[in-house]
């Protein structure tokens, strides 16, 4: 590359250092022997052991995972339906309102979303707990899912569905046998996005969680407010590790797949 200069290399090095150093430091210090998180006192895994003993954290983790699984699955179903409506249903009365309600939660400050849902739950007398968090997370995550899925649907060759109908499928069969398998990667990434959003969310969960159900971010937040703690470092390291392994393997898999596709296409073009 002619224009790839020292300037570019420096910018990238500094940029990525800025993005990654804080997390690397966090990971390193999770293995620190000392309670004082800023002073290095030798390697130890004792904070991990202590974390495993901490009932409150483990319970919160379990609640969080439950909420994330339920809400992301529900959000994927609803979000895919919404995407289908946005891209395919054509005109219907209230379409503008519908697309507005899909896009508004994406830019709505979380404090407002949380506040409004809490006021609704109180208004209808619904006890706050796992159910209310699931409802709240499903609502904002489905909007993200529908954006991801609809961007795939827009580029989807509609004649594939018409071909399925032409060959004797009912509309539902055409969706199940043709559309869904083809848009599956987008639906899966929508699910993953919804899952991560739910795992991460602090603000909306704080509003909609009750005393019976506390999620991990709420737990972490209240611990962190008091200052840095090695146990939180250990917990963060575990979460970072899971995400890193997940994202890297996902991108390797998709890279392999696209390489294979390229090779196949070249072979096909040669005859």
């Amino acid at each position: 590359m002619k224009r790839f200069s020292w300037f570019n290399i420096t910018a990238l090095t500094l940029g990525f250092a800025f993005l990654y150093l804080p997390m690397i430091i966090l990971v390193i210090y999770s293995f620190n022997e000392s309670k004082l998180v800023t002073v290095w006192a030798g390697f130890s895994t004792k904070w991990y052991a202590e974390l495993m003993q901490n009932e409150a954290f483990l319970n919160a983790a379990w609640v969080t995972i439950k909420v994330a699984v339920f809400s992301s699955t529900l959000a994927t179903v609803l979000g895919t339906m919404a995407a289908y409506v946005l891209v395919r249903a054509g005109r219907f009365s209230g379409r503008t309102l519908f697309s507005g309600m899909i896009y508004a939660p994406l830019v709505m400050p979380e404090v407002i979303t949380g506040l409004s849902l809490l006021l609704l739950f109180i208004g209808i007398g619904l006890d706050r707990g796992v159910l209310t968090i699931v409802l709240a997370h499903t609502t904002f995550a489905m909007c993200y899912v529908s954006v991801v899925v609809s961007s795939r649907l827009v580029s989807f060759d509609r004649s594939l569905e018409e071909a399925a109908l032409d060959l004797g499928c009912s509309p539902w069969q055409a969706f199940r046998l043709v559309t869904l398998p083809i848009i599956a990667p987008a639906v899966i990434s929508g699910w993953l996005l919804a899952f991560t959003l739910s795992l991460d969310d602090l603000v909306i969960a704080s509003f909609t969680a009750g005393p019976s159900a506390t999620t991990l971010p709420i737990k972490i937040f209240s611990a962190v407010r008091l200052g840095v703690s090695p146990e939180i470092n250990a917990l963060s390291t575990i979460m970072i590790a899971i995400v890193t392994v997940g994202v890297i393997s996902a991108s390797l898999i998709s890279k392999q797949a696209s390489l294979k596709q390229q090779r196949d296409e070249q072979a096909a073009a040669r005859g």
């Binding site: 910018a11 940029g15 400050p109 407002i112 489905m142 939180i232």
Partner: protein
């Protein structure tokens, strides 16, 4: 009708869990919170029909909004949120543009990896990414230890619990939002445009200002709004990295609700925040639309 059912399910879900709650917030913002717990007066008595609605409406007032204007805490909070969002957006642009530019200039086989490295932090918990800075910015934290060790300073700097820490936190967490749209605008740019500019007598620097910057304009605008809009309502960063003097409207709303338990005022704060956000959101949508039109 299958089509009707397909539309109805997500439609009613969003009506019930997005629009109705939002209307409740509007209603409560106009109500009197005599007691800091529900029910709020007035209440809509459905049985009374039209008259009920009239009395209901006549009892709504803008008292809470008037209250917001009299207490300068709120004014200051809105202004300071705006200022913090503006400064951090500018900082993110200054830091993000060179990174996006260098990514777009990198060898094509490197680009997917660089892109993945930018996106990876997205998937990591927001809370953890903010938390990571607490240990670095503290008085006895790593940054101060490093600066003392190099001899640049002799006294530890107070960074944590100041606005500086908030800027660092916002730029750090929202940087990918700035980089991605700029990168995608720059990546599409044809290299021969720069060669043509140089061929026509531009220096490299002037080619950058006259060709590269204008062509990445939509990316810059999109990136700025993507940082600015969520920052305005940010809660986590000011409450973990900011100090007691850091005023941001998200934090004020939270405290009004959880600490003072004044729900009508919290609702009024939320409504005003939304009104403020509408302008940048519309501008952002316009920019996106323009970009789509340009791409045909």
């Amino acid at each position: 009708m299958r089509r009707a059912a397909l539309i109805a399910v997500p439609y009613f879900w969003l009506l019930a869990l997005f629009l109705v709650p939002f209307l409740i917030v509007m209603k409560i913002s106009l109500s009197d919170g005599a007691l800091a717990i529900p029910p709020y007066t007035p209440q809509l008595d459905i049985a009374e029909g039209w008259n009920g609605l009239k009395t209901f409406l006549s009892e709504l007032d803008f008292e809470n909004f008037v209250f917001l204007t009299t207490d300068d805490l709120y004014w200051k909070a809105y202004l300071s949120s705006f200022k913090i969002a503006l400064i951090s957006t500018s900082l993110a642009l200054l830091i993000g543009y060179p990174i996006a530019y260098s990514m777009a200039r990198a060898a094509p086989e490197w680009r997917p990896t660089l892109l993945m490295l930018i996106i990876l932090p997205f998937w990591t918990s927001f809370l953890i990414r903010v938390y990571a800075w607490m240990g670095i910015l503290a008085n006895e934290g790593l940054l101060n230890q490093f600066l003392l060790w190099t001899g640049i300073i002799s006294e530890p700097l107070t960074i944590l619990n100041t606005n500086t820490a908030v800027y660092i936190g916002i730029v750090y967490t929202y940087l990918p939002f700035m980089i991605l749209p700029i990168y995608s605008a720059l990546e599409k740019m044809d290299d021969s445009l720069l060669e043509a500019a140089e061929d026509l007598g531009c220096s490299r620097t002037s080619a950058f200002w006259l060709v590269t910057i204008p062509l990445s304009k939509t990316g810059i605008i999109a990136g700025c709004f993507l940082v600015f809009i969520p920052t305005l309502g940010e809660f986590v960063i000011p409450s973990l990295l900011g100090g007691s003097q850091t005023l941001m409207i998200g934090k004020v709303l939270w405290e009004e609700f959880f600490n003072n338990r004044d729900w009508p005022v919290a609702s009024a704060v939320a409504i005003i925040l939304l009104l403020i956000l509408i302008i940048p959101i519309i501008l952002f949508q316009r920019n996106e639309q323009k970009q789509r039109e340009m791409e045909g």
